[in-house]
């Protein structure tokens, strides 16, 4: 079974049916994992083993089932392909509340997500990373551009096709409280999607079948099967997040958008959820778009990472390249700003001046030029304010949107870190 096949003809897999034979096989350059001749396949999936029940799914300390291995960047067919995607929110105002402008939340973004990989998306609040995720799931209409899943256009799907798409793509939300209906018991919360997607073949319309499946997935995320009758308020934050994960999993998706899934959790619970996400990724052959603002979490979980700033992707690279050799001045500053819990690695920060400009009126040329330390180092070249930099390839799999990406050097970074600006706002009057 190859991925080019239209999804409609693909048999849906149940929790226990997944096996290596069912797993998609790619032509080349698969996901991380052992790659036996030709196409890599996933190890056999199964029900969670001992020690993974009763909230302890991630509690057991053990080895990750697959050794981490870098995927080949340009190999294989992408699962999700995004081309020049734009999502604008209209602003109404003035006389008769007419449309007076747009908030360009996502503006001309292109990237690919390969099957089996974790694509990390980082950026500060308001950079458009959540909007991007929601647009891909058709939760927010796209203004322009194209996105495909297995070659099929996501944005033009209607009716039955759209319903089928909804099943293939799922989302895990940040807020485990706000995303679960407090009036519904867990089996209704998880079962709602099943009911909506029920047909003669899967039999999800029958309560008994549905409840059985809900219990299976509660099991899979490390909760007790009999928790299905409880209500969200009876759970802790980490457990609620597990319910959110079970809800996404129950529909047997291929692609999950994880929108800040651990940001609301304490450190010790966060690590449990991260372990769980990695376990189920291997177990259910999932591909993630992992959206987060925490750079350490993204580094830990992702294969490739995209950095967003004011609605644009400014840099995209394999995770190790990005963290070791960032080429966009924004990425450099972002990475330097992360406080490390290791006193031996206290580093000099590059403190960016000012705040994020408004996405309704982004700066001309390069959107980062108002806060860019590199531009200052280079004596404020004209180009930055006039030309929007191309998202160009500077190395294999490494793309960056900066005119002067090659100018970044150790000395320049050190120099910029030494000049600390404590100014809150930018020079021009807001």
């Amino acid at each position: 079974m190859s991925l080019d096949q239209p999804s409609g003809t693909q048999p849906r897999r149940g929790l226990t049916q997944k096996s290596p034979e069912d797993a998609p096989v790619r032509e080349s350059g698969g996901a991380r994992g052992p790659a036996p001749d030709g196409g890599p396949s996933y190890p056999a999936a199964g029900l969670p083993t001992d020690g993974q029940s009763d909230g302890g799914a991630a509690g057991a300390v053990g080895q990750r089932s697959q050794p981490a291995e870098r995927r080949d960047i340009d190999g294989g067919k992408p699962l999700i392909s995004v081309e020049e995607l734009a999502t604008y929110y209209p602003i109404y105002g003035g006389f008769l509340r007419r449309k007076i402008g747009d908030v360009k939340a996502v503006d001309n973004v292109s990237f690919e997500v390969f099957p089996g990989e974790v694509f990390g998306l980082v950026g500060e609040s308001g950079c458009g990373k959540s909007t991007l995720g929601r647009t891909l799931l058709r939760l927010q209409p796209a203004t322009a551009g194209r996105a495909t899943i297995d070659g099929e256009d996501i944005f033009t799907k209607r009716g039955k096709d759209l319903k089928r798409l909804r099943r293939r793509v799922q989302i895990i939300f940040q807020d485990p409280v706000g995303s679960l209906n407090p009036r519904m018991p867990v089996n209704d919360i998880i079962g709602e999607g099943l009911l909506a997607q029920s047909d003669r073949e899967n039999g999800w319309g029958r309560r008994k079948v549905r409840d059985e499946r809900v219990a299976d997935y509660l099991d899979a995320v490390g909760l007790r099967r009999d928790y299905a009758r409880r209500y969200p308020h009876e759970f802790s934050g980490g457990q609620r997040q597990r319910i959110g994960i079970a809800r996404a999993l129950a529909l047997d998706p291929d692609f999950i958008v994880c929108d800040e899934p651990v940001s609301a959790l304490d450190v010790s619970i966060q690590s449990q959820i991260l372990n769980l996400l990695m376990d189920i990724r291997a177990q259910f052959n999932l591909t993630y778009l992992f959206i987060a603002h925490n750079l350490s979490v993204v580094q830990y979980i992702s294969d490739r990472v995209g950095v967003m700033y004011l609605g644009k992707l400014v840099e995209l690279a394999p995770v190790d390249t990005l963290y070791a050799d960032p080429r966009h001045p924004y990425t450099v500053a972002l990475l330097s700003a992360v406080p490390e819990p290791d006193p031996r690695r206290r580093k000099k920060r590059i403190v960016l001046k000012g705040d994020l400009p408004s996405p309704a009126a982004p700066p001309s040329g390069c959107r980062f030029h108002t806060r860019c330390w590199l531009r200052e180092e280079l004596g404020n070249p004209e180009k930055c304010t006039t030309d929007d930099p191309e998202f160009r390839i500077i190395a294999s799999g490494h793309r960056v949107a900066c005119h002067y990406a090659e100018e970044i050097s150790e000395e320049r970074v050190t120099k910029a870190a030494a000049t600390v600006t404590l100014q809150a706002d930018l020079d021009e009057d807001v």
Binding site: V61, G62, D266, N275, Q299, I301, S336, D342
Partner: protein
Amino acid sequence: MDRFSAVSTPIVVEQPRPPQGDPDLLLDVRDLRTYFHVMDGVVKAVDGIDFSIKRGKTLGIVGESGCGKSVTSLSIMRLLDMPPAENPTGEIWFAGRDLLSLSDHEMRKVRGSEIAMIFQEPMTSLNPVFTVGDQISEAVMQHLDVSGREARDKAIESLRVVGINNPERRVKQYPHELSGGMRQRVMIAMALSCDPKLLIADEPTTALDVTIQAQILELMRKVQDDFDMTLMLITHDLGVVAETVDDVVVMYGGRVVEQGPVDDVLLRPKHPYTEGLLASIPSNGRRGERLNVIKGTVPNPFNMPTGCNFTPRCPFRFEPCPKHDPRVDDPGGPPVACWLWKPAPGTSGPAPRVREGASTASGTQTASGEA
């Protein structure tokens, strides 16, 4: 059945401390207890903690949500809602006075002018219907004998100190006109306006983005130097702690589990909780490796475990743990509340470290318990 009757035996230690507190210590908290009476029982939010801050230094209080770190700061400021809170017991020595014995009137003079506080969410601590200038001036006029005009000048001055451009214009703005980072700067300006000796910052950067957080941390470092201020930083982020504080207090379930200089605590953690917390942070070089986790969840505040309250989640627990409550200031060991490091009652010395189900030992455990 009274489920709170299962009281562990605390070990009473006579500390030879001067009654007025050490002159080097700006703040000296002793055996502070803050309990809340709610419908379901008593929550011992802060259950007998001791710590102190030296003048001009920065103390970090870390712990996860519900560990009592915010209640500690509110107890020091005496800002708790009573009821449900009970009067905190213990002693809080601040510059030669026990804050808990002051009258409300005296305490009001301390608050703001001698101890200032900034909170996590600047939007909820700023009043939306007054301009930021009004709000800073209000604090100034409350504590200093100045006219309205002088107070306004002082407000402008303090906004300038925290790096806000064009403060003459900003004082006329309302909180909603400012960005998150700017609001937090206004909070800091307000806190600084009366030149306090101690600044308590309760999660000052948690709601901010990482580049703005870097700005605010840099700013706090600068104002601390410029104003020769003592800082108490409450946070859950061990990264922030590593970069900003001199000493650190780790709290768990309303108690202090470990304290000491930041390098000691973060590089050579002694308490299994601190160790677990550090090991569960995804950071450099942990890729592909399973994260170490502290199993289970924070105990129910109505039903704290007996003895050491980390016992149910601790991989090294042994006989004395559920029976006797260790404290950081127990004699015979380092400042860590753990029987692995000091003799438990009825034993001759610290116990050897044996992980429960020894096969689960992980390579990330850098600290060792050879003692």
